[in-house]
Amino acid sequence: MLKIEPKYIVEAVSASSLEELFPLVQNAIELEHSTIPPYLTAMFSFKPNTGNEIRAIIHSIVIEEMLHMSIAANILNALGGRPLINDKSFIPEYPTPLPMGIGSSEGLIVGLNPFSINIVQSIFMEIEEPENPIPPTLMLAAEASPEYATIGQFYMTLSDKIQHLAPDNLPGDPAKQVTSNFFSSSELFPILTKEDAVNAINIIVEQGEGTTHSPLDPEKELAHYYKFAEIVAGKKAVVRNDGSYSFSGDPIPFDPNDVYPVYSNTKAKMLIPGTEERRRVDEFNNAYSSLLNGLHRTFNGEPGYLDNTIGVMFDLKLLSEKLNATPFPGQQGYTIGAPYEWFPQP
């Protein structure tokens, strides 16, 4: 389980006004976003029409990270803050520890890598590891580990602080709350009250980690950590009523030949200006930055703009997959990765 730099918990604990929580909720938005490019890079590195089972699993996780990012942005708006999404500082410079120093003490460096079992096991499962992972076939009693701070604790501290500091009806403008037909209203809902905020934070934590008693989240869906574990095990998990489980379900096949040899952590500057390849990479970064701009608008008073951004996400996917199929000039044996870098707009 990853540790968070204690100062963030201290900041949360010592906050005496809602305003003091704004930077922390902004950090939460950045944290939820930070896992999306690595997961997408792995997912898009499959050659067309291969790895469908694995892709579907990663896709379901990425969608929930997008949900969590949206929830965090809704919380910030509900508290009266303003999410900042369209800025260079919003994007991690991969390879990097996660925001708030998460994982740095364990030496976890998250990069943009093509899919491999090793990446899933050593990076993705680390990111998503619950406070007390439940080993297969066993169920441990939930037990807090007070000596270090975790992502879950960070969220719980936030939750406590909101309960403590906020009025019952949160001060933010309800018109800024974002909902979407792509998410169930039990997952993405307007955060208008303290209770809404607490429920929303629980969704983030439980979808990521599961509950302390079961690998399933309250929607009876496997938490992220266990979904990634399925990929490593090569089989779907079968969860019993008591919360115990085993990897004994349908196979999740993987053939390393299905993955493009994508150059890890590709940066635009690695490609020569004026070449078609560089242009494609710039177009990707432009689309990615355009998406962040669109999301910024969405979460800063134009919730209806979310529908426009759906199309940009689609553009990103196509641009990324085309790059992954393109040989990397000067890097024998590799193809180009999508860099996820800020491209000044317009």
Partner: protein, 649 residues
């Protein structure tokens, strides 16, 4: 739309158009004869042309404001106005705009859909933004006298339209120019004209594959004007080279009598020697008014020579190698003398170059008698039973032509391979290619209409049941010609091969089942999967019902967008509402209703084509011209011009 009326500004830069090309060949629509090789790059109907994995995206890149014309005259960069240095791009956070053909059998009016324009200061603050009303290109013409072998496409074309949903940014208040523009514009619209050229079919060393150069002009929109047509006088090129190429083929110009001002737009016609807009011409070029009517020639005949006493000289066009890129190629003549002003009111404008003995050679002349008749919404998609109005506008010497009679005629049945497929190899026929403009009763329209006081006339076109004449391609293509009654068509005008016609796709009659099975929509989806490998490779296999159903939410989202939304599916906008509804109904079921397997759908026998050109039948002249034009548009030219000295005599 009045893009040459002051105040206007010009920008130049690049456009990207990642069009898909498997659908450039009508034979590729036939599911029964489709082969996987049609999805791989390569010319010829056994391959997918130059960009089979294109995604139809269209957008602006590297576009900067270059020049303006305002009350104070043309642009002075020292003048403090945030419009100087402005960046022109597409709106952020929104799907890219799209560029699509009407049909594989009508590829000569490629349309922009859902393209947004975002004009900002050099530091990114919004000045003004808007969305381009859908428009097809016109005035396709030869631009590159040299160097087209590098990029592959020597032609250029022009999109004319309006910006709708115009939003003025806070910084527009700091711009005296934009305040003038806002005050001059009606109905919160602006005019926009885009000249594209230098397009790359080739993966050239300069990295410009799928890019082209673009010159944009944005001006006011005036009440009672057409929207995707400019109400301007027209200059037609009349000199052809040995390969039947005409340079300075089509140009718009505005003569303002009261202001004694002439503005000629060469953005879409000035010849260049490379793909990025360098001018290599070294002829002296003059604008003049003709004292005598010039009706010659039918293209291809001898040069038209005028003596100096047959013209009134207006002035020389001052250009240099970078003129297009730096100014957009709009030549402005102000403070015209009274004799020119008087003569231009009802005499032809000429583009001249000096000939021998003090005479002048006419490179381009105004339309005969100054007559211009054009359709506004000239690209139509009509469902069976639907009636669509098409607005026509007639002008003489730039003024509305009142009470004129316009005759409308359907072109003869024809087409077949000529209308789409670029290099049918008779030895390896993929399948029969149907004719279009048949059956004639497939559409109804009035054969004569009259213009009103604004030179405007409306033509209602109704789509009837065409009975699936093309078998494997939905509906039918109809092309209409229009003319002023009693007038011979101007031999130098574009005609309806290059743009001055009405081009219609009438969709098949179809009734959407309330509870469709896969077999009700499988033919559509298999065809889609075949034609757009970018979707079937990278998104989902549309030929696989279970894969399709697994993405039903996002598909329902895309299939229910407004047609002007860039996310709208299908991108090509060629499905009738009824077929779209059938797909939506199928996606809305609780479980996928699959009655035939994938193989069954793939092997489905296509409906029989009812009209196919007879083998070996001679191709009529117009069809031959169209075939050549389509080939050129698709970069299937066998040779490219390499002309050092145009107009050197």
């Amino acid at each position: 739309m009045s893009y040459l009326h002051s105040p206007y500004f010009v920008f130049t830069g690049d456009f990207v158009s990642d069009v898909s090309t498997v659908n450039n060949d009508p034979a590729h629509y036939n599911n029964a004869t489709f082969a996987s090789s049609f999805q791989t790059p390569g010319s010829g109907n056994l391959n997918g042309w130059w960009n089979p994995e294109g995604g139809a995206t269209f957008g602006f890149q590297n576009c900067r404001m270059k020049q303006l014309s305002s009350k104070e005259g043309t642009g002075d960069p020292d003048f403090q106005d945030p419009i100087f240095g402005a960046i022109i791009s597409s709106a952020a956070g929104r799907n890219s705009g799209k560029m699509v053909d009407l049909d594989p059998q009508w590829q000569m009016s490629s349309q922009l859909w859902g393209v947004s324009v975002f004009i900002s200061t050099s530091d990114g603050e919004l000045l003004v933004s808007g969305n381009i009303k859908a428009t097809g290109f016109r005035d396709l013409q030869m631009r590159q006298q040299k160097g087209a072998r590098v990029n592959g496409q020597p032609l250029g074309g022009m999109w004319t339209s309006v910006l709708e949903n115009v939003v003025w940014g806070d910084r527009a208040a700091d711009s005296p120019f934009l305040q003038q523009l806002k005050a001059a514009s009606a109905s919160n619209k602006l005019s926009i004209n885009l000249s594209g050229y230098g397009y790359y079919y080739n993966h050239a060393a300069d990295g410009r594959f799928s890019l082209g150069r673009i010159i944009g002009t944005i001006g006011p929109w005036l009440e009672n004007e057409p929207e995707i047509l400019s109400p301007y006088r027209r200059l037609y090129g009349i000199i052809q080279d040995a390969n039947q190429n005409t340079f300075f083929n089509f140009s718009n110009f505005l003569f303002e009598q009261q202001q004694q001002r002439l503005t000629v737009d060469f953005s879409g016609s000035f010849p260049v020697i490379d793909s990025i807009g360098t001018i290599g011409l070294n002829s002296k070029l003059y604008m003049a008014v003709s004292k005598v009517p010039v009706t010659m020639p039918a293209p291809g005949s001898a040069n038209v020579i005028l003596a100096s006493d047959e013209i009134i000289m207006i002035g020389q066009i001052n250009y240099d190698a970078a003129w297009l890129n730096n100014t957009g190629g709009i030549a402005s003549f102000t403070d015209l003398p009274d004799d020119v002003t008087h003569a231009l009111a009802n005499n032809q404008l000429l583009l001249l170059t000096p000939g021998s003995g003090g005479n002048y050679i006419v490179i381009a002349r105004e339309a005969i008698d100054g007559l211009v008749l054009r359709a506004d919404d000239f690209v139509c998609r009509i469902d069976c039973g639907q009636t669509v109005p098409v607005n026509l506008y007639a002008y003489q010497w730039g003024e509305p032509l009142q009470n004129a009679v316009i005759t409308i005629n359907m072109d003869p049945e024809g087409g077949g391979a000529a209308a789409g497929s670029q290099s049918q190899n008779p030895l390896i026929p993929v399948c029969d290619i149907p004719n279009y403009n048949t059956p004639v009763e497939g559409i109804s329209f009035s054969q004569t209409i009259n213009t009103d006081a604004n030179g405007y006339a409306s033509l209602d076109i109704t789509g009837n049941n065409v009975n699936n004449p093309r078998g494997y391609i939905d509906g039918q293509i109809y092309t209409l010609s229009y003319a002023l009654s009693g007038q011979q068509p101007d031999p130098a005008a574009p005609g309806n091969i290059v743009s001055d016609g009405i081009f219609i796709h009438v969709r098949n009659y179809f009734e959407a089942p309330a509870n469709p099975s896969w077999s009700d929509i499988s033919e559509i989806m298999v065809q889609f999967a075949n034609l757009y490998p970018i979707m079937s490779k990278y998104f989902l296999n549309f030929a696989d019902p279970l894969a399709l159903f697994s993405k039903k939410e996002i598909l329902k989202f895309a299939f229910t967008r407004d047609i002007t939304d860039p996310v709208y599916m299908p991108v090509t906008r060629d499905l009738s509402e009824a077929k779209k509804q059938a797909i939506l109904n199928w996606l809305s079921a609780d479980q996928p209703v699959v009655d035939i397997g994938l193989a069954g759908a793939m092997a489905a026998e296509p409906a029989k084509i009812r009209n196919v050109p007879e083998a070996g039948a001679p191709i009529p002249e117009k069809q031959a011209k169209l075939k050549r034009a389509v080939m050129m548009k698709n970069g299937a030219l066998l040779s490219y011009p390499e002309i050092d000295n145009l107009f050197e005599y």
